[in-house]
Amino acid sequence: MNAAVAVADLPLKVIRGDRVTHLGMTFWTILVIVLAFGPFWADRQSLRLLSEILSYVALASLWNLLAGFAGLVSVGQQTFVGIGGYTLYLFALGLGVNPLLGLPVAAVVGGIASVPIFLLLQRLRGPQFTIGSWVVAEVFLQIAQQLAVVGGGSGISLPAAVVRSIAQSRDAREFLIYWGFLAITVVVVGGIVMLLRSRYGLALTAIRDNEMAARSNGMDVGRIRLVAFVVAAILTSATGSMIFLQKLSITPFSAFSMNNWTVYIIFMTVIGGIGRVEGPIIGVAIFFLLRQYLADLASTYLIILGVVAILIMLKWPKGIWGSIADRYGWQLFPLARRLVRLTGPQATGSP
């Protein structure tokens, strides 16, 4: 108590960013506005590509929240992409309502499912958690293949009548879905920034930097991890529901695809910079740029990505963004806490 009073009396102030951060925030704001007007300047194909990019920004940011901050390296996030997709389909087909209404339902179902999954996987320590998360995804894949209600191995499609209930014209439907992706991505990235600025964020950053020290400072690491896992599951399911709404059909292998929803995302995050909010965004940009030129190579492309990821892990474990940011002290989101003396020279604080 006394300490708090004393600090408040000092001529000190906590600031969250510097000029680069302000520039960064201006950039993000302009980017979101430009993207929001996407339907006015982009053709149908570009809108689809932008949707895909946005969905990967959301998924990679959420994976980064788990692996980069909470110390939960999951290779089973496809569980929630698939749960989200299947929930939206079952909801829209079962009730015959506008599939967009399935998005919040998918988020809720994913969140509810994540609690028992986490409580079970929590029993596996460290790297064992990783394989455990994979087993869970496998179980969902196998069950989806056996369940007749979701069409078994051949999956289900959204009938035209249901699709039309989103909006009458094809353009309107595509715009709505695109804006859906944009909204989710903004919510995800913005939500992560807000989470990291909150008490949980301080705790998550502490766990990222040194779990033992975080524990010895009295943090309930298990509970903080539960919160991160559930938040990631809710938003991953929401993203998954939109991905499969756009695809108009879903199969077990596409829904619970390890490659699409985990491997690519790991590569993006590692290359961009794990444990930084900006990292996955930069990583997604690099991934899609490379893909424009190397997509024809198919498996060679994956080999190249794998080699690049290994080199980055060994040489620049903070990724491209992390290395640049450390060197120049850049932050594109107001996350740092810097203690500033109101008069006199600046005190240096830890980011």
Partner: protein, 289 residues
Amino acid sequence: MIGTLNAMIQGLLLGGLYALFAAGLSLIFGVMRMVNIAHGDLIVASAYFAYFVMQMLGIGPFTSLLIVVPVVAAFGYALQRWLLNYTLGAGDLPPLLVTIALSIILQNVLLIVFTADVHRLQAGPIEIASWAFNSELSVGVLPVLQFVTSVIIIGALQLLFYKSSFGRAFRATSDDQQVAQLMGIETRHIFSLAMALSLAVVAVAGVFLAIRTNFNPFTGPLLLIFGFEAIVMGGLGSLWGTLVGGILLGIAQAIGGQIQVGLPFVAGHVAFLAVLYFLPQGLFPKVSQ
């Protein structure tokens, strides 16, 4: 009834192989606290290498082991020494991410070299030889041979760990890396030897499995999962427990397959999750320090 009994015997015998996958994985985890995500892909790569050697030299799968095991072990030593050792010491993340990337690289290299077609190693007449107890119950010679080999290898590993100076170095490194280093154990070398030994064990298992079932470049992850499930079910750190875990997994899969054709893997996973829920320390928990 006889059908179920038959399936259970098959499962039990297959479980020996799972225990070998698990023993390799558990050896790595025990010595250097690293989970090798590419473990399954290395098993599949060994099977492909055996296929290659058999084609080149015109020999059978069992003879090919004479070449496959030492080469794969040497590869394991090099992999650990010049790549994976550099990922250790900075937390769980680097080894996990590097082995995930390695797994993807291996799968795609195998895909390019051997295509996506399924392969199988031909072992000749032994594949169909069996001992018949009566008209309905019979046991294949090959599965029994595999099981006996698995038990012998696990017994040998047990002896190696607890009765040799080599094993003492492994255990010392596992208990406390820094102190082991102070006592003059070169941990980087020990780690590389552990990887070599791990891959030698799984090369045998990989070749046996490839005689029994089809494989393709993407079979690896499932094998990693089977090995992992066997370890956790058996209890970390106990080799005989791992054997029992592997056998339980094999039996669970066999029973699942009896209930419904598409169900064996689900049944195995469910058995694993049930053990994890009810006995988080596994069936044979090691006394924790």
